[in-house]
Amino acid sequence: MAVIDYKANYTNVWEVDDNFYQYVEDTCKTLYIESLKDLPPDVRRALERAHEREELESGKEILSTLIKTVSTADDQKLLICQDTGIPVYFLKIGSQVRFDGIRLQQAIKKGTERATLEHPLRSSIVNTLTRKNHGTSTGNQVPVLHYEFVEGNEIEILIVPKGSGSENMSYLKMLTPAAGIEGIKKYVLECVFESGANPCPPTIVGIGLGGTADKCAALAKKAAAREVGSPNPDPDVRKLEEELYILINKMGLGAQGLGGSTTALAVHIEAADTHMTCNPVAVNMMCWPARRMRATFKSNQEPIISY
């Protein structure tokens, strides 16, 4: 949170009108559907690169099947994976935008439901106790929303439909300060080994460091949702990302956990400071179809869609 240097500036305030919420609803419908069909270019490049580098013949074949899947989805406008996931949205809210947060949340939920009913998409969201499927991809506290406040007069909405195969392979451990950085590395390696073939590798390994247990888990998800290979600006964190990327791929689990050197497409870390007695580490993996799509809303304009 870099708020220390922030000087409030209200010269460019955008007070949204009623149309905005309708835009958000329509856009979230589009984002959900299109994110399931159109893989971001950085993920495509990472798969191509992995395919070129993989030396194990069977691993290379699996990677070429993944690439073929992406092009089949492009050509025939199909969903890359049948698991439409848990819809997760990351919002960046400009300091000069004035809006009703409850209506914004409602619009996001409505857009998600409309995508599910109108496309139609498989709804994967159930009541945790009764296991009843709502048929809408939404429910109590779903979609999952994360908020961040930034300077400026834009609102950005990023959807990350999070597949369950990879979500079920999530980990959190409160290490001791004495475990140090080596302890963090060991724990992450053990998690990736443990997850094996289940998260549909090659994955983006998202790691959260520090904070409280809940903050740490949220950071891991944020890290997993980053563009492939986008380095963390903190040089210490970046160094750890690079080291772990090499270590993980030395393990030999490979694509789909069937061997080879392509276990992770990238390792991303997000770090927060923590209590002097704490050393929390969380791992959240993104399966190879690392789906995401973004809409940026500016004053009285159609949103700009990007990845």
């Binding site: 069977s58 074949e61 699996i62 099947t65 993944l66 073929k68 899947t69 992406v70 089949t72 989805a73 025939q76 199909l78 969903l79 890359i80 994976c81 049948q82 698991d83 439409t84 496309h119 139609p120 998409l121 498989r122 709804s123 994967s124 296991r131 499927n133 048929g135 597949g163 369950s164 195969g165 079920n168 080596e182 590395k185 060991k186 390696l189 053990e190 080994f193 094996g196 073939a197 289940n198 549909c200 270590l247 030395k250 393990m251 030999g252 689990l253 490979g254 789909q256 956990g257 069937l258 061997g259 399966c287 190879w288 179809p289």
Partner: protein, 199 residues
Amino acid sequence: MAHYRLKAPLSDEDILRLHAGDTVTLDGIIFGIRDANLIRLFDKKVELPADLIPQLKGSIGIHTAPGVRKLHDGTYEKISIGTTTSYRMDRFTKGLLKDYGMKVIIGKGGLLEDGSQALVDFKGCYFTIIGGSAALETTQVEAIEDVWWEDLMPEAIWKFRVKDFGPLIVSIDAHGGNKYKDVKKVAKDNLDKLLESLN
């Protein structure tokens, strides 16, 4: 490593020919099964619909819940059909093979110890289909021929007709061969060395 083209119903001989590492292409019928319908069958002890039971002898199952569109005549059109992680359904493997004569389970991620042992005991195989590759697999599904227990939607039991379905990898066979185990064994050695180097 051989490649086979198979079509259900499969016999013990068909299964015993297969070895971990072989590849397979399928034609014909496969049945979609997963958490909710297997929990109902084996944990809640609700017997399967009578017309389905004889069809499962020698059959091929796939761990899946497809994306579909229901048409006016009550039939279903495919939207997206792929596979899900198998370990969650591991403990139902034995029952499917022993009680209903299923021969092959298709999924991703592999089975645990009990499920793998059931394949040896009751002559079955586990085929890996590439997880996340539903776009490709959907094009290989010709029709959704039937559905049972629709109230569990989308976790109903599905009957798909497929053509050129694959690539499939025989990852766990009826002889105790297990590709996942082989890879994990190597990975464990590598992991131990890496952990050692971090000390």
